[in-house]
């Protein structure tokens, strides 16, 4: 069993807890022991970081400090693109000694400190790189009869130089997993396009204009649904499509499936 700190973030446990449920169900099948910690929000790498980058970094650092586990920090498993990006970028920025000293100073009154930086994984990377496609395959008991398009989301791959993404223009890990689950993959023109989520609260009309580009492209290929790995993209796309499909003929509503959910179903769990 590999022990990992489960980082749920703000949105999954409150708005889409079925993703958490699915992850907790499949973890033992993949040889994972998930440990819960009293984390704060990651915090989000768009709003909070736009307001105050030092605050964004320090709150992220506090989360990294919680998994210290003596001097053998537990690796962190993030189920959300935003949480992954925040924690991973923070861990990279904190490799700089001066920045680390500043942040540790701010954390000191709470009696916590970062001694060693933990590994931060996006669930998708963890599944491919650490669990391995063969082990996933072994656990599949039911092939999924679905034709799905895929949306990775910006913050899973970018900025690639900091996140260490191998093929930022051509992410393929979700493609690999879905194929093993028996899903037929339906490509579409704007697969890499942003969903506009970060603009929603700042300028919702503009966010919807951006999303329209994405959803029009998905509607054109009429998939059974869209496979996703980010609850923020989900919220933006699912709420946005309700508004857009009413006034745009080119947009039909579709269903969104989280990767964890699809994995759980194919492993025989009834969600």
């Amino acid at each position: 069993m590999t022990k990992m700190a489960l980082f749920l973030g703000c949105i999954i446990p409150t708005k889409v807890p079925k993703v958490e449920k699915a992850m907790r169900l499949i973890a033992p099948k993949l040889g994972l022991e998930l440990v819960d910690f009293p984390f704060s929000c990651c915090p989000d790498p768009t709003g909070v970081k736009s307001a105050n980058e030092l605050l964004w970094l320090t709150l992220a650092a506090r989360n990294l400090a919680l998994v210290q586990n003596g001097d053998d920090p537990l690796p962190i498993l993030a189920l959300c693109n935003g949480c992954f990006e925040t924690l991973k970028m923070a861990a990279i920025k904190l490799q700089d000694k001066q920045t680390l000293a500043l942040v540790n100073d701010l954390l000191k009154p709470d009696g916590i400190e970062i001694k060693k930086l933990p590994e931060v994984y996006h669930v998708l990377d963890f599944l491919i790189k650490e669990v391995g496609i063969d082990k996933i395959k072994e656990q599949v008991v039911q092939s999924l009869d679905l034709r799905l398009s895929i949306h990775y989301g910006c913050h899973y791959t970018k900025p690639s130089n900091l996140l260490g993404t191998e093929k930022p223009d051509d992410p393929y890990f979700m493609h690999e997993i879905l194929e093993v689950l028996g899903v037929e993959i339906q490509p579409y023109l704007e697969e890499r396009l942003c969903c506009g989520a970060a603009l929603r609260f700042v300028n919702n009309d503009l966010a919807l204009e951006v999303l329209k580009e994405k959803l029009t492209s998905i509607s054109a290929v009429k998939p059974d649904g869209v496979a996703i790995v980010c609850p923020t993209c989900f919220e933006a796309m699912d709420r946005g499509q309700k508004i857009l499909s009413r006034k745009e003929e080119s947009i039909q509503k579709t269903e969104f499936f989280f990767l964890e959910e699809l994995l759980a179903k194919s492993m025989g769990f009834d969600l």
Partner: protein
């Protein structure tokens, strides 16, 4: 990688540094060509934005541009730039500076207020708890709210006191 803590420098110093970072722009326009917002809003043009920063005489002049807050944070401009300009981060710095003088959008003010009041940006409510119960999920582990609030207060006052020292 540029400095993370905009608040640690005076505004003139920041403008000088931003100009040094952007000076290598050769106006190829790849950033604009890849910008999802530029596609739908023709005055949000990253290439021209870079030029306008290079020509600006003060940070406040740059902050007059409402498009400081029009970025979808997709990072495509940063990914595409052959000159290594991280324009997404330039905008982060400008948004931080805009927030410092209270020019941030209402939604950002509200998000920060929610973060301070609840320790998260998406609070736990009765509906969420009901959904969790139906799924038989464990209780959400939450941090000590007072500790989080103390930390937020320390960080936000750290920025300003540092800046005061610099300005004096």
């Amino acid at each position: 990688m540029v400095s993370i803590v905009a608040a640690q420098q005076g505004r003139e110093e920041i403008l000088d540094r931003l100009k040094r970072e952007l000076y290598v722009c050769f106006e190829c326009g790849k950033c604009s060509g890849s910008c999802v917002v530029f596609r739908v809003k023709d005055d949000m043009n990253p290439r021209l934005f870079v030029s306008s920063i290079l020509e600006a005489s003060s940070i406040d002049e740059i902050l007059e541009d409402e498009n400081v807050w029009s970025c979808a944070i997709c990072y495509d401009c940063t990914e595409r730039c052959d000159q290594g300009i991280d324009f997404t981060h330039t905008l982060f710095e400008l948004k931080n500076l805009s927030t410092e003088i209270g020019k941030q959008p209402q939604a950002i003010k509200e998000e920060l207020a929610t973060l301070h009041a609840t320790g998260r940006t998406s609070p736990i409510n009765a509906r969420a708890l009901k959904k969790r119960e139906a799924l038989d999920l464990p209780e959400i582990q939450v941090p000590d709210l007072e500790a989080i609030q103390g930390l937020i207060d320390r960080v936000t006052s750290y920025g300003t006191s540092e800046k005061k020292v610099k300005e004096e």
